[in-house]
Assembly symmetry: C2
Homo-oligomer: 326 residues x 2
């Protein structure tokens, strides 16, 4: 099948109105009046961001979810995306059908559409890049740079499950869906991280800064601190691990180091945000109303950098604080 | 240097206002009222779209020019872009400085800015993806699907120089700039294809369909035909080769096949467009006023597909009509 036929077969059915059935060189789009566009781009490399050989729908869905989490953290609603695929020459393009099903599922879950992109072949590992677009009322994007001294620091959901899921996924043959023995939901956490779009309005109203956690909780907290010109003090015991992750850590030789490894891995894509203490009750109410776990994990201070305090309020030793590509 | 420092050193100085100094998870942007956004994405794979090992500014500029040509063909003015870099682990990140200079040069030439992106590492060849955004008055995008029976078929500039440039570039060691012996401008045509943004207004007013030539003139003409539900008849002798390319072809054993190879290569990124014959004089006037070569190469007919006629008006045999990735 040639490039044109591949695109028309697998990807054209996913195109929204401005995507022109993927028959044009470009797409067109107009954000609603009174709204800003929010844009984010992420790349996945085979063997780094997803297991080698895993070319199916899981990978497609994971790629889009990691971008959706950026939009959610900024308080935006997703509307469309562009996709660039560098497909390995050695891999049968039949896999594209499964890949497209993953795209379709996530598009349907979050009501956004494909606008365009590019499909090329490579002699190397697969590289997939997505550019996602969302909208929000003009001027309301939640940036990283608004954290103020005295603010609370919060995080959604649980951290660490994605690391355990990744370990499981890497240790076994390619499976299209989580295996039935994924009792703790670790694999699901890796492939299908939670996207908290339901928080977008309250984030815009009450968060002073926000980011999704992709590099590890301390590292992403550091990004907010750097952009805001503040420091943070986080309480180790307040950092939320799931029951499954707690249980796993307790089985390890060094429980603290094990927990740090989970928290520093960073692929959970939960939202880390800061908010003035006067909003504390609103956040607790929102969490209860949405059946969502929200944890108060520390506070914003003056100075630079991120401290993590143990149960005695002492600075913890934390050797490997997160992921860096270079 | 870690990922954050690399981005802040090389890419943050290129960011426009909505790029938030590349310190955030996302960028924000608002197209001017009364305008549509036009979006295009292209990926380059090392060894396919640029020579292996050529990590400098030339490659950066070529990547953005191939996207700018899409915007130009649609009648849009570029405003911003996102960039995803999968950088080979084996390649010193010092090259990024040169890469960023290429980005800066082309941004300055065409007055648009970086909004964001992603930088990751790969064990394979470099893969670079850009998503470019342009604007134009609402509803005025020149699509591929408007070609009508009886329309003229036009092309800007000359075709074929990029193929000769590519052959030269592939045959020699890495050079950051065209060598002084590039008398015919072949290497320049490969690295820095012309971008005809000055035509964007007349294209919106008088072109019925347009596309840039990236896959070869016959193949890209075919894209317009398919989208428009028409056929085209092109005259081989009217397809514009530069003096240098003509001379090269005349030195080959089979001159016709040599010319076909040049015309079918497709990396010239000239604009192919259709327009009603009543506009013919306007196009000639525009060409003269802008010092631009415009060639009338054929006409739109009923039916399907693209015919190429020889000097006797007979269908030509043309074995390899263009580039396909799969």
């Amino acid at each position: 099948m040639d490039e044109h036929s591949l695109i028309q077969t697998h990807f054209a059915p996913l195109a929204g109105p401005g995507g022109l059935r993927l028959l044009d060189d470009a797409a067109q789009m107009t954000p609603p009046a009174g709204h800003d566009l929010v844009l984010t781009a992420d790349s996945f490399v085979e063997g780094v961001h997803f297991p080698s050989g895993h070319y199916g729908g899981d990978t497609a869905e994971r790629l889009l979810r990691t971008n959706l989490s950026d939009l959610a953290a900024k308080g935006a609603r997703p509307i469309s995306y562009l996709l660039s695929l560098a497909w390995p020459k050695s891999v049968d393009t039949k896999w594209m059908a499964g890949f497209a099903v993953g795209l379709r599922d996530i598009q349907q879950s979050f009501d956004f559409h494909l606008l365009g992109g590019d499909t090329v072949s490579t002699e190397g590992p697969m590289v997939i890049s997505a550019t996602l677009m969302g909208v929000l009322p003009t001027g309301e994007m939640v940036q990283r740079n608004g954290a103020a001294m005295g603010d609370d620091v919060w995080v959604t959901g649980c951290l660490g499950d994605a690391k355990l899921g990744c370990d499981i996924v890497l240790s076994k043959a390619i499976t299209p869906k989580p295996t039935p023995d994924d009792a703790w939901g670790f694999e699901s956490a890796y492939w299908r991280p939670d996207i908290h779009l339901s928080l977008r309005k309250i984030l815009r109203e009450k968060a002073s800064a926000a980011a999704d956690i992709s590099d590890g909780v301390l590292r992403d907290a550091g990004h907010i601190c750097r952009a805001s010109g503040v420091a943070m003090s986080l309480n180790f015991d307040a950092l939320p691990l799931s029951n499954g992750a707690e249980l796993w850590a307790e089985g390890q030789e060094n429980i603290v180091r094990a927990k740090q490894a989970l928290l520093g891995f960073g692929d959970d894509y939960q939202i880390l945000f800061t908010s003035a203490p006067e909003h504390r009750q609103s956040w607790f109410d929102t969490a209860r109303k949405n059946g969502l776990k929200l944890s108060l994990i520390g506070n914003v201070t003056s100075g630079k950098g991120v401290r993590c305090l143990d149960v005695n309020g002492e600075d913890m030793d934390w050797p490997d604080r997160g992921y860096s590509h270079f």
